[in-house]
Every structure is written in C-alpha cells, then in structure tokens.
C-alpha cells in the first residue's frame, strides 16, 4: 500500500500524537540524569521531580518578600496586558479593516500606508514607547497593539474585499446604505475571520509581551523568567515556559471555539 493511503486507527492516532511529547520528555529526563550523574549540583537541566516540586511551590506558596503567590500574580499581570493589547488591536483592526475592504476610496488612500507601516519592526520602536508612555503598563500594552494591529488590518481588509460582489450588489438592491452593508452584511461574516486572524497574531503578541516585560516591569511571566535567569534558576524558567505554552494553547483553543460559534451559519447541517 502506498504511504499516502496509510491511515492510523483511533488508538493509533492518539498514540502517534503523544509520541513526540513522550520522546521529548524521555530525552530530557535522560539528559538531566546524565548531567547530574557527573555533577549532582547541576542546575542546567533540573530533574523532572524537581520541576514538579518547583511548580507546586510557585503555584501554592506565597513569595517571602511580596507575600503574593508568584505564578498567579505574574499570570494575572501578563494576561491583563495581553488582553488589553490584543483587544485594542482587534478593535482598531475591525473598524479599519472593514472600512478599507469595503470603501475603494479608503483602499486607495490607506492600503499602501498600512502595508508600509506593517513593515516597521515593533521591537525597534519599543524604546520610543518607553519614552512616550513611561515604564508603566502603557508601553507594554502599546507594544502588543502596535505589533499586531497592521497585520490584523491587512488580513481583515483582504477578507472583506473577498466578500462576493453579488452580496454587496444584492444588499444595494434592497436599499442598504454603505453603513448598513458594513453592519449587517460584512461585520457578521468578518467577526469569525477577525478571531481567526487574532489566533495567528497571538504568537507575536506573546513575543512582544515577554520582550516588554523583560526590559521594564515588576511583575509578569516574562519579567519573572528574565529575573531568575540571573540566579540560573532553570527550574523556575522551565516551569514558566511550560505554563506560558499551556496558556497560549488554551487561549488558542478558546478562540477557535468562539470563531466556530460565530460562524455556525457556514456549516451545512442545520
């Protein structure tokens, strides 16, 4: 049988999906074991058991200095920044993307500008943001928003322009104004697309968040990682990296669910 026709069964699919995870964990455990056999005080690859212990401590015991449970307070600080930045970006992108996609005048006037602005490397303007917004929350949120807004606008404008011409003409023959077409024809069809674009933009959004927190912050997941780096606390770093990965995965899952809920009309069965 050809390879392109071989398919896993149900159990096989689950097994294959788990395999790379198991392999990586096994590889890590073996490497950690090997290093600690040479030097029991090795800090580069802490034992899996120690990682679990550190995770439990971070998630349950209050910090001696601040009295807060670090993992949760850092998570709250980071998620608030991420949510604010992404929400601002999505709001701007929704309005600008719909307008550019629907209105030829705006497309002609702003299309090239947005394309040019989206080429500005966001991290390169971070110093400007710190100067303008100070070292507080403003600069971090602005970095996330500035980093992903141009991409979201371009994607949404392109999707809006892909709405079949027939639908726009049809709406006009029913007497709809440009605003009514934007609100009732384009917007409902573009909301799931926007969420899809936000899912793609979350990767860069996390990057900008952690970069901003690394440079100037007093709480947050990125701040903690770059703080404990000085003490070579690999156990904390690894726990935080795994936690961020899990958060990102869950966020993606939630957005996917939301997008599907908003586009139930696209599914054939009633």
């Amino acid at each position: 049988m050809r390879w392109i026709n071989r398919r896993p069964g149900r159990a096989g699919a689950v097994g294959l999906a788990l395999l790379p995870f198991v392999l990586v964990i096994a590889l890590y455990a073996a490497a950690s074991e090997a290093r600690r056999a040479v030097n029991p005080a090795d800090r580069l690859l802490p034992a899996p058991a120690q990682l679990i212990e550190t995770a439990t401590r971070l998630a349950s015991e209050p910090d001696r200095r601040s009295g807060r449970i670090l993992l949760w307070s850092d998570t709250a600080a980071s998620l608030q920044r991420l949510a604010a930045g992404v929400a601002i970006a999505a709001g701007i992108a929704l309005v600008a993307g719909l307008a550019i996609g629907l209105l030829p005048l705006l497309q002609a006037g702003l299309g090239g500008f947005v394309a040019a602005v989206s080429m500005v490397p966001p991290l390169a303007v971070l110093p400007i943001l710190f100067i303008v917004f100070g070292l507080g929350e403003g600069a971090k949120i602005a970095l996330i928003a500035i980093g992903i807004t141009p991409f979201l606008i371009r994607d949404l404008a392109a999707r809006t322009a892909e709405i079949p011409r027939e639908q726009l003409v049809k709406a006009q023959t029913l007497g709809a104004s440009s605003l009514a077409i934007a609100l009732h024809v384009a917007l409902p069809q573009m909301l799931p697309r926007l969420i899809g674009a936000v899912r793609l933009a979350l990767g860069p959004a996390w990057l900008f968040l952690i970069a901003a927190e690394a440079i100037a912050s007093d709480a947050g997941l990125g701040y903690r990682i770059f703080l404990v780096r000085r003490f070579f606390a690999m156990d904390v770093i690894l726990v935080y990296v795994l936690w961020i990965t899990a958060l990102a995965f869950l966020l993606d899952l939630a957005l996917r669910w939301l997008a599907r809920r908003l586009s139930r009309w696209a599914e054939a069965a009633p």
């Binding site: 003409v169 049809k170 023959t173 007497g175 104004s177 009309w265 696209a266």
Partner: protein, 266 residues
C-alpha cells in the same frame, strides 16, 4: 408606453467593445429572455440594467428616468450563486429585504420588525420554505436557495426583476418546479422581468419575448474587434419562431464607419 428603454447602448472594456448599438424597448410587465453564446455580453447587459456598471455610450431609462449610477430598490436581482446572505437564517434573509433599506443603520424598530417578521413568515409559507425558516442557506438545496433568493428580491417590491442564469446550477427536475414558481410570482406581481439564460427551451417557455445577443460583425483576424448586439427579437407568446432566416440586425442602427483603431506608435 415603454417601461424600460435602452437607446444606442455601447460598452467597452479597455477599448475592446463588448456591446454596441443595443436598442430595446420593453413595456411594463413584459418578461424578456436574453440568450446568446457565452461571452457575448448578456451578463454585461444585465449589469448595465442593474446600474452595477456604466455604459460607455447610450442611455437606459426605467419608467422615464435615467439610471442614477448605482443599484437601488427599483431593480431586484437574482444571481446564479451568492444571492442570499449566508450568515442570515432563511427568515432573516427575507426580513433583511425590509430592514436593510429601512434607514442608514439598516435597523427596524421593534414594531416594524414584528411586522417584517410576519410578512417574512407569510412569504415563507407561500414559497414552501416555512419548515426551514430558522435554518441557514448553507443547509438548503440549490433549488430552495434560489426560491429564497427570488422571494427576497421580490420582498423589496422592485419594478424590474433581473435574473442572471438563476436556474443554471439546478438539476432538471428542480428547474421545472422553479419555472412554475417564477411564473406564479410574476403573475402575482406583474413586474417587468429580464432573464439571462443558456437554456433556449427555458427562455421560450418563460419569456414573452426572447432577444438574442450575437456579434453581427466578425473580423476573423481580430475576433474581439466588434461587440455584440441584439440580432433577433422574437415573440415567444405566439410561438413565432421564424422558419426563414430573419433579418440579421433588426434593431441595429445603420452601420457607422468603424472607429479609428489605435495604431502602435513607431
């Protein structure tokens, strides 16, 4: 008196003529079928009637008034595909015919919305889609979608209905059923209908008139040099299908000298 009148219509894309010297006069309530080979400008003609595109030369008047430059409620349209809004339920699509044009926001007040909903349910009963009122168009068969599209276009009470191969994607059985449906709808409303069709039998069955678009002039060395025009205008009610070859250009103005062709510089 003629309801839709087309005078000396020319359409060219980038200097290439698509339509030339099209003249047509249609009285209120007439059903005009438009047939012709692919690429001879039938759909372009329909877009001109819809005012989705502007002619290069010539005028179209509906009820004595020239077109204003964009589609409006006076002319309804049903396309072969994408005619209904996929994100609205079947009932929502019919309500949209009332609400979209209600004001700039396209919103109805609660009372007007209830009235629109009642009208929509009435229409759904009439077109036999009441049982799928809350379904989305994606869940409907092609025939049901087109029935909805026609009902939606009619709900706006247009004076002229334009149909661009509305049954082209349907199977033969559904097509026949749709013919009956369209005939009934048209009798009830008495509006003027233009239908582009690839199916000659369908064109003659439904139409009062059948107009044929073709290219009367043909340069074998430059097939796109001339545009198409109405070469035949047949009365479909009296089955007056001519058995002698008709005059080639009954509606065409006398041939003008060909326009000067752009010459390559140098």
């Amino acid at each position: 008196m003629s309801h839709v009148s087309v005078e000396n219509l020319h359409l060219a894309y980038a200097g290439r003529p698509v339509l030339e010297r099209v003249n047509l006069s249609v009285s209120e309530g007439e059903f005009v079928s438009i047939v012709g080979a692919s690429g001879c400008g039938k759909s372009s003609f329909l877009r001109l009637l819809l005012d989705q595109e502007r002619p290069t030369r010539g005028t179209i008047t509906v009820a004595g008034a020239p077109l204003k430059g964009e589609p409006d409620r006076s002319r309804g349209i049903v396309f072969q595909r994408y005619s209904v809004f996929p994100h609205m339920t079947v009932r929502g699509n019919l309500i949209a015919a009332d609400s979209l044009g209600a004001n700039r926001l396209g919103l109805l007040g609660p009372r007007a919305r209830r009235a629109a909903r009642a009208r929509a349910d009435e229409a759904l009963d009439r077109i036999g889609l009441a049982h799928v009122a809350d379904a989305y168009p994606a869940a409907l068969s092609g025939g049901m979608q087109q029935r909805l599209a026609i009902a939606q276009a009619l709900a706006a009470r247009p004076r002229v209905l334009l149909l661009d191969e509305p049954f082209g994607a349907l199977d033969p059985g559904t097509r026949t059923a749709m013919h009956g449906f369209l005939d009934e709808m048209r009798r009830a409303t008495g509006m003027t209908v233009f239908m582009v069709s690839h199916d000659l039998a369908e064109a003659f069955k439904l139409g009062d008139r059948v107009v044929v678009f073709d290219k009367p002039r043909w340069d074998p060395h430059d097939p796109t040099a001339y545009g198409a025009t109405i070469t035949l205008d047949l009365d479909a009610r009296t089955r007056a299908i001519p058995d002698t070859p008709p005059q080639e250009t009954p509606h065409a103005a006398p041939l003008a000298p060909p326009p000067p062709r752009p010459r390559a510089a140098g």
